[in-house]
Symmetry: C2
Amino acid sequence: MNNNIIFGRNSVIEALKSGRRNFNRILISRNLRPDAKIDLIKEYASNLGIPFVFGDKEQFIKYNEYNHQGVIAFVSPIEYIELEDFMTGHRENAAIVLLDGVEDPHNIGAIIRTCVCAGIDGIILPSRRGALINEVVEKTSAGAINHISIIKVNSPVSALQKLKENNWWVIASDHHSDDNYFDIDFLNMNFVLVMGAEHAGISKSIMNLADFKIKIPMLTEFNSLNVSAAAGIIVYEYVRQKLTAGRKHEQK
Amino acid sequence: MNNNIIFGRNSVIEALKSGRRNFNRILISRNLRPDAKIDLIKEYASNLGIPFVFGDKEQFIKYNEYNHQGVIAFVSPIEYIELEDFMTGHRENAAIVLLDGVEDPHNIGAIIRTCVCAGIDGIILPSRRGALINEVVEKTSAGAINHISIIKVNSPVSALQKLKENNWWVIASDHHSDDNYFDIDFLNMNFVLVMGAEHAGISKSIMNLADFKIKIPMLTEFNSLNVSAAAGIIVYEYVRQKLTAGRKHEQK
């Protein structure tokens, strides 16, 4: 199933705001209480010439597993970006997160959500390993998928090789590493952070391309960080370094 | 529904390893392929004198929404710890996370999982605001709830007052704050980190007790970090400070 349906108020609002999706129509439940977010959706829809219709409970039944909150939008699928196009247009010292085989769409959505907050420039999803964008990813991301370049690649190995040739550094999350994630300097370079699959971790062919391998230290014997928590911790270390680096210079 | 049922291999193994739950029996699907984790469960069960029985598909049908992976354990509920008992027994410079009204059991489970990895000493859950431990929390935590003190309190305000009287500091996650989470020193004190509800944030009466208010900076206009991602980022800043503080002294 393509993600041509968006469920829930925040996700619909984010997609409307982004201007990156073509809306076919928006279905709003007849039984909702007055709500500022619904008013906002109607306002956007009116301004953009998108039809919105009011529906009865029956029209929502088949979508009830999706926590739609009484709002469903029928839209064009997300447009993936080609790696080549991304590479010609990005800012200096850009940051990408590559998900190598992450399968749970909730994890993918959660990672994209955190990445957008952290100012990450792009997400690479391999088309044959792990999941791609679907409704669950979109919903879990709270609409964040509309605010970041999503790059679909057939071969993550070729993609990383191409990036490396163009002056990008590959950082792999690897719990066997001796180096902690806060021991490397994320600044003054373009980097791709690779996060591995929930159980299998990062595939060997990709690990071989890593310029840095970093681990998140465990302070107890319970060694089981979720991949979306791990991604959040690492990308925010990048944010911390970025925001405190300037400050250090000021103090000099 | 109490969490007297544990679903899934890892969650059952963690509960067995912890020694903190009384097992009534373990139900294992007759249709599973040979698997090291199932063997481990059987071995624990044999050693501990816990009966395990093999069941047909029919016996699992009513639990199918829980992603049980063919293993279900019937156990005693988790034992909550009294705040007074926790306060008499904790280590120096201990750390607690208080969830003020967090409602989604997936978020609570994810936060507990990260907290155990980060060496946090306890979790405070208010009994009348937000959710308590249930099967979904246990499963999402990957069994982490068995490895940390879970403190249930009737009044989070009274709990925080009691902690403050006993030389604990209250740190509130507050996106209105001017201070970033990496600007405060988490070391050399006992602290309670308060994370607020998904939508409402931290209640006013609790915010008034905060000694520090910290925010996670957003690098884009998209301002919507999930509470479990936010908790992970902050508790791992505490870990980073802890592990790098010692190193600084060595370098002197």
